[in-house]
């Protein structure tokens, strides 16, 4: 009976939740979804003549996509897993795209028109090595072409029709590294050339049909080889020698291997520092980058080298495409003064440029980094060329006939960090004409909506209503709105580009490729790290623009110097940039501002010294006042250690730097390395608002939430179980969850989950933590919740104490007091594995919370926090039910309607960001991965505003009708009264 009742109750609850979903025609009103692919690594053009022209690209975000060459739209797209990077891509049989991924261990064929996977072959890779995919040129479509794949010391010939392995040849030679595969046209012989670790050049002659080894030949090159090598033609290799000072041409198809050697200094007649070879698949030609100069050279029949061109500007070359028999074309781009110069040359007449175009590009796209070309037949039957150019900011351009046909902002597929900026305040003084026009449109719109409500609208009208809803000009305005829905989402991408997206429709308002985060002499391999709010004007909000702080560093190592850059939030102009002398380990935005309202930031370097920014006397005054109450913690995952720090005094550096502060270690927690390994650290969001500190129980008892900004959730797993799920037995695996106070290093709570394993995802909010992990015993994912309550304030429940003022509610709370906490926990099963977890945030913290879960299907699920309440019991009493406690179930329900991404998928989901709107009921949600998705949700529904499709006209008409009715009845009654009196 009780179970039935609880089920009924659950059903009722589900019904109540249904209303939280949206109707089909509401899609796109508040949300937008953008699809990206990431930085293009390789591109192949469709060779078939029929059908629309497409290009297939493989990207660094492990995406394979087919793009429309006319518009840049995505026809189809597949996002491979994080651990499945695409190495190479090719086209087989004219109808399949073949991709080799995961270091040459998986070969897949995708159908060109629709992207369906035709077959997949996994190749056994014994040891990691360079992988190579060789798809023979389409000699004939009807023939069963074999695709040659080299990976892990083994050469596989795979049928391109069904992916069957035709033959397999192992090269057991020690240190053998394949460098090239060549198949002379029409021949049944394959040459496999490779180097061994001791600079031997090995040539294997293999029968293409059977894989039989026909001939094995190896010659040692006395000077040694660097391993960098290019295949110049079917019988020639060009390699760099071990000293990287001269080029070696290797002719391998003859009966014996012959070398020809030439010093690079002879080629360029200059001294040089670095040299690298660039792939250029033009017969008999190669390219090399000597310092910053691009050198094009030709290999003569005798094996000698001849420089044909030197280019000093930043430039790159494309692979060659076959025009006619023996005629190959390749493209070259040079970048100079915001213009890119594209030239296309043909190999048999290298001096003349077949095509020369100059295109102006947005300077915020940086230099061209890669180019792929494709030819087509013009209306006058001559050869036309189009080029696909990958820019420094990871965007993709298609250039044809001297102009940019389309461009894709694919840097947005690799967002590193994001923040939000308010839009400018609306200035007073709007023209009357504008208002009139708006009024007319407003009336028209409402008439249409009225029609729609009264079921009088035709199909056309419905379409216009829908269009109006979607194109609601109100939401795309560039000013602040009353509800706080309109904002700028500022994102920082991996390429060091900062873009501002409008929350209304996701369009890019401005973008800037930060000069300080571009590769230069002072900073090679810069890495973009974080973005913070630097300056948020309140006093002069009308005339001052907010600005942002972008933090990056130069180089991978932990002691790499940092880079700071300040950018205006409204215009994207870089206001200031500093190259730091110290490294960046941690950036702490402090809750203080100087007199210019610039936020103080403390940057901790590798030596645990703190550096204060902005460097103004004013900021240091503010800082010195608050210095004694600044604490931070650092996590050393390798040593399984968490340390707490406080500031001590000035740095003891040689130079007197008054913005530098030394620190001291206050506490440390060391997890035993043999049994625990840090797997997850989570903290509360600094800007989170908590509305009420007390929670009233069913029995009218008050529990005080333990609300501390310093609470840190740490989870450790046993080292054996730190790998993939299933790599450890339940007995070996355990997970320990900790709640730590970051000021004193106190462990407030510690709990062990036996037989549990990562990956762990956690979110901390108010006084609770929700974390997700895998339970090996139950073979299911679980979510646990910990709620922590403060007992030291429980004495305040006495009314008399409150009246007499003896309570301690107003006394300041210090972390140094001994905490008296009570913890409530509960664990539930959860069906999905999870990619990211977040929690909704509202302006005042009154609205109940939802936990946003990025599921493995790249969708975002909103789960009511009520489901994760540790107070849920099997048979809640009537009072508990009234309070909203749901009967205890062992699993969390997944209600299809509560997917906030509805039909969309945020491919490659990495993070979910919640932003409070001004309207208390509403949270803005921005989730990103390869795709971007933005929506706004109301966890307790929009209780504080009317919905957008509320028919004001209907209300107006009703009021008018009522007023009219009142007047009429009044007149009638007057008349009646008069008649009565006359009687």
């Amino acid at each position: 009976m009780a179970v039935r009742a609880s089920l009924f109750f659950l059903f009722l609850l589900l019904c109540s939740l249904l209303a939280a979903a949206l109707y089909e025609d509401q899609v796109g009103i508040a949300d937008w979804h953008q699809k990206y692919i990431g930085k293009t690594k390789q591109a192949v053009f469709h060779t078939q003549k029929a059908g629309r022209k497409r290009v297939v690209v493989a990207t660094e975000e492990n995406v394979i996509a087919s793009l429309d060459l006319r518009s840049g739209d995505i026809y189809w797209r597949h996002v491979l897993g994080k651990n499945d990077p695409v190495d190479q891509i090719g086209i087989a049989l004219g109808k399949y795209v073949v991709t080799l991924s995961s270091e040459g261990s998986v070969l897949r064929a995708w159908n060109l028109p629709d992207g369906q996977m035709s077959w997949e072959t996994s190749i056994e890779v014994l040891k990691p090595s360079k992988s190579l995919l060789y798809v023979p040129a389409n000699a004939g479509v009807e023939k069963d072409n074999l695709i040659l794949v080299y990976g892990g010391g083994c050469l596989h010939a795979i049928s391109s029709i069904d992916g069957e392995v035709a033959w397999k040849k192992e090269f057991s030679l020690e240190g053998f590294n394949i460098q090239g595969i060549s198949q002379p046209l029409g021949g049944s012989i394959i040459y496999i050339v490779g180097f061994t670790s001791n600079s031997q050049v090995v040539v294997n002659k293999v029968n293409a049909k059977t894989g039989e080894l026909l001939n094995h030949n190896s010659v040692a090159y006395p000077r040694g080889l660097s391993g960098e090598v290019l295949q110049v033609s079917s019988d020639l290799l060009v390699a760099l020698d071990a000293a990287r000072s001269s080029l070696v041409t290797i002719n391998f198809q003859a009966s014996d291997i012959s070398f020809h050697h030439m010093a690079i200094s002879n080629l360029v007649q200059e001294s040089f520092v670095t040299v690298s070879l660039l792939p250029l698949n033009v017969n008999g030609m190669f390219a090399a980058k000597v310092d910053s100069t691009l050198v094009l050279a030709r290999v003569k029949d005798t094996g000698e080298l001849e420089v044909t061109e030197k280019i000093n500007d930043p430039s790159c070359v494309s692979d060659a495409i076959l025009l006619t028999e023996g005629q190959e074309a390749f493209a070259m781009v040079q970048h100079a003064d915001n213009r890119i110069h594209l030239s296309i040359r043909v190999n048999n007449d290298i001096a003349t440029e077949v095509l020369k175009e100059s295109i102006s590009v947005d300077p915020q796209r940086g230099h061209a980094q890669k180019i792929f070309i494709n030819n087509y037949v013009r209306t006058d039957r001559s050869h036309g060329f189009r080029a696909l150019i990958v820019m420094e900011d990871h965007s993709l351009l298609l250039v044809q006939q001297g102009e940019i046909v389309w461009s894709r902002e694919d840097g947005l597929a690799s967002i590193v960090d994001s923040t939000v900026s308010e839009l400018p305040v609306e200035k007073v003084g709007v023209s009357v004409a504008k208002v009139e026009e708006n009024l007319l449109e407003w009336l028209k719109g409402h008439m249409l909506k009225l029609k729609g409500t009264l079921m009088l609208a035709s199909a056309e009208d419905v379409a216009t209503i829908q269009g109006m809803r979607l194109k609601n000009s109100e939401k795309n305005k560039m000013t602040r709105d009353h509800n706080g829905f309109r904002k700028l989402i500022i994102v920082l991408t991996k390429a060091g580009k900062v873009l501002a997206l409008h929350t209304g429709d996701g369009r890019v308002i401005w973008s800037v490729l930060l000069p300080s985060l571009r590769e230069s002499d002072v900073c090679d391999s810069p890495i973009a790290l974080n973005i913070y709010q630097w300056h948020v004007p309140h006093h002069h909000a009308m005339d001052e623009n907010p600005s942002l702080l972008i933090v990056g560093k130069c180089g991978q190592s932990s002691d790499a110097p940092g880079v700071l850059s300040v950018v205006d939030s409204y215009t994207g102009k870089e206001l200031n940039s500093i190259m730091l002398a110290h490294s960046i380990a941690q950036v702490i935005p402090l809750p203080f501002t100087d007199s210019n309202e610039q936020r103080l930031h403390l940057i901790i370097d590798r030596n645990s010294d703190g550096h204060l920014y902005p460097r103004t006397p004013d900021s240091i005054n503010v800082f010195l006042r608050e210095m004694s109450s600044i604490y931070w913690y650092s996590v050393d995952a390798e040593k399984s250690m968490i340390r707490g720090h406080a500031l001590k005094g000035k740095c003891n550096l040689d130079s007197a730097d008054e913005y530098c502060f030394s620190s001291k270690e206050l506490w440390s927690i060391i997890f035993p390395s043999e049994s625990e390994k840090i797997a997850k650290i989570a903290t509360r969001k600094m800007n989170e608002v908590v509305h009420t500190q007390a929670k009233v129980n069913v029995d009218h008892d008050v529990m005080y939430k333990y609300i501390s900004k310093n609470i840190v959730f740490a989870a450790t797993v046993s080292p054996k179980a730190s790998g993939e799920i299933g790599s450890a037995t339940p007995e070996e695996a355990s997970l320990v969850a900790y709640l730590i106070d970051a000021v004193t290093g106190r462990i407030l709570h510690r709990v062990t989950h036996q037989g549990a394993q990562g990956p762990i995802h956690a979110v901390v909010s108010e006084n609770w933590v929700v974390y997700h992990y895998f339970n090996l015993r139950a073979h299911r994912y679980e979510m646990s919740v910990i709620e922590i309550y403060d007992q030291s304030r429980a004495v305040n429940k006495d009314v008399w104490k409150l009246i007499l003022g003896k309570h301690n509610l107003t006394s300041p709370i210090t972390s140094y007091s001994k905490p008296e906490v009570v913890v409530k926990t509960q664990t539930y099963f959860f069906t999905h594995s999870v990619k990211a977890v977040a929690v909704t945030a509202t302006a005042k913290g009154i609205t109940s919370k939802q936990v946003l879960i990025g599921t493995i299907g790249d969708q975002v699920l909103a789960l009511d926090k009520r489901f994760l309440d540790p107070r849920r019991t099997l048979n809640p009493s009537q009072a508990e039910k009234e309070e909203g406690i749901i009967p205890l179930t062992d699993a969390l329900p997944i209600i299809p309607q509560s997917y906030i991404t509805h039909s969309h998928q945020v491919e490659g989901l990495r993070d979910i960001v919640t932003i409070p709107a001004k309207l208390e009921s509403t949270t803005l949600v921005f989730s990103y991965g390869v795709d971007l998705f933005f929506t706004r949700i109301a966890p307790s529904r929009t209780y504080d505003s009317l919905t957008e499709d509320f028919s004001y006209a209907l209300l107006l008409i009703t009021i008018i009708a009522l007023v009219a009715a009142i007047i009429v009845t009044w007149i009638l009654s007057e008349k009646k009264e008069l008649r009565e009196k006359w009687r």
């Binding site: 206050l666 060391i670 035993p672 004193t744 210090t814 007091s817 008296e820 009570v822 664990t827 099997l874």
Partner: protein, 301 residues
């Protein structure tokens, strides 16, 4: 035969010595017995965290337990030192923790019976502490992270020195241990620490130490839940019914307006003194209202 006899004699001796030791201990260390119970209780993971402040284990200072008595018992006794530092000074020994290491059959170890004895503050240390109090600086302590084989890693913990002084210097150690490893030490004053911290000196310059050993709790898991669910299904009839509400609690929202209406009519009736009959009935109604009046007030509070 001779061997057996000697063995018997040995056992007898051992039991005598043990009983002697026990009686000795019970005579001298009344609190130790309590501690033992408390520890065993804690081991089961059943201790609720709020119990700890109710019965803290008070180890009086300067009352060192004889380490020899531990070595004579069969579980292993271990010692590790507590070091302290005043502000930026270096670490120096401050006291000794003694504990027993229990070995389990499956190879695990557990620390039990933690005791602490603090060295008396030297004059220099006292001065250093006074300086700390004046500067509102940190008093830092550390213990080795591995108590069996102290390595280079230390668990550090600290407190603002001004939080400690009361009558004496009250301190509390909550040591989180896992096997032979100490994860963390929650170090601080035994009670609340005021903020802003006033400068005050203790009446007596000695430490009053409380120690507590904490091991990890096991997370409760829902298998019990499934059984409960089944049990709930079987014992359907016994399901808790919500307590029946009183008549008043159920219908107060109807009764109050009704009362008002009645009152209204009564006053109206009073205004018409000509009609005697109506007035009588009115007083009756008023009586009933008057009876309900205080009741309603009590309910609504």
């Amino acid at each position: 035969m001779g061997r057996r006899r000697s063995l018997l004699a040995f056992l007898l001796l051992l039991s005598i010595s043990l009983s002697l030791f026990c009686s000795n201990a019970s005579a001298d260390f009344q609190s130790d017995e309590l501690l033992q119970d408390d520890d065993e209780f804690g081991l089961e993971g059943a201790r609720s965290p709020d119990l700890e402040h109710l019965n803290p284990i008070r180890t009086p200072i300067r009352r060192r337990s004889d380490p020899d008595s531990f070595s004579s018992s069969d579980s292993k006794a271990i010692q590790f030192t507590l070091e302290h530092a005043f502000g930026d000074s270096g670490f120096s020994p401050a006291g000794t923790f003694t504990a027993r290491l229990k070995s389990w059959n499956h190879g695990g170890h557990t620390l039990t019976k933690l005791r602490f004895s603090r060295n008396a503050l030297t004059h220099a240390e006292k001065e250093a502490f006074e300086k700390l109090l004046k500067e509102d600086d940190f008093y830092i302590i550390r213990v080795p992270s591995n108590v069996l084989s102290p390595g280079p890693d230390y668990i550090v913990s600290s407190i603002k020195a001004r939080c400690l002084p009361r009558e004496t210097l009250d301190e509390q150690f909550v040591i989180h241990a896992e096997g032979v490893n100490i994860l963390a030490v929650n170090y601080g004053s035994a009670g609340p620490c005021q903020y802003p911290r006033p400068l005050k000196f203790p009446a007596k310059w000695s430490f009053n130490s409380y120690t507590l050993l904490k091991t990890s709790e096991q997370a409760p898991r829902t298998p019990a839940f499934a059984e409960e669910l089944l049990a709930g299904e079987n014992g359907e009839e016994e399901g808790v019914k919500p307590p029946e509400k009183s008549f008043w609690a159920k219908y107060w929202m109807y009764l109050i307006p009704l009362g008002l209406i009645v009152m209204n009519t009564v006053t109206q009736a009073m205004n018409m003194p000509e009609e005697q009959a109506g007035g009588q009935s009115g007083t009756q109604a008023q009586q009933t209202v008057a009876q309900r009046g205080p009741n309603a007030a009590a309910r609504r509070r």
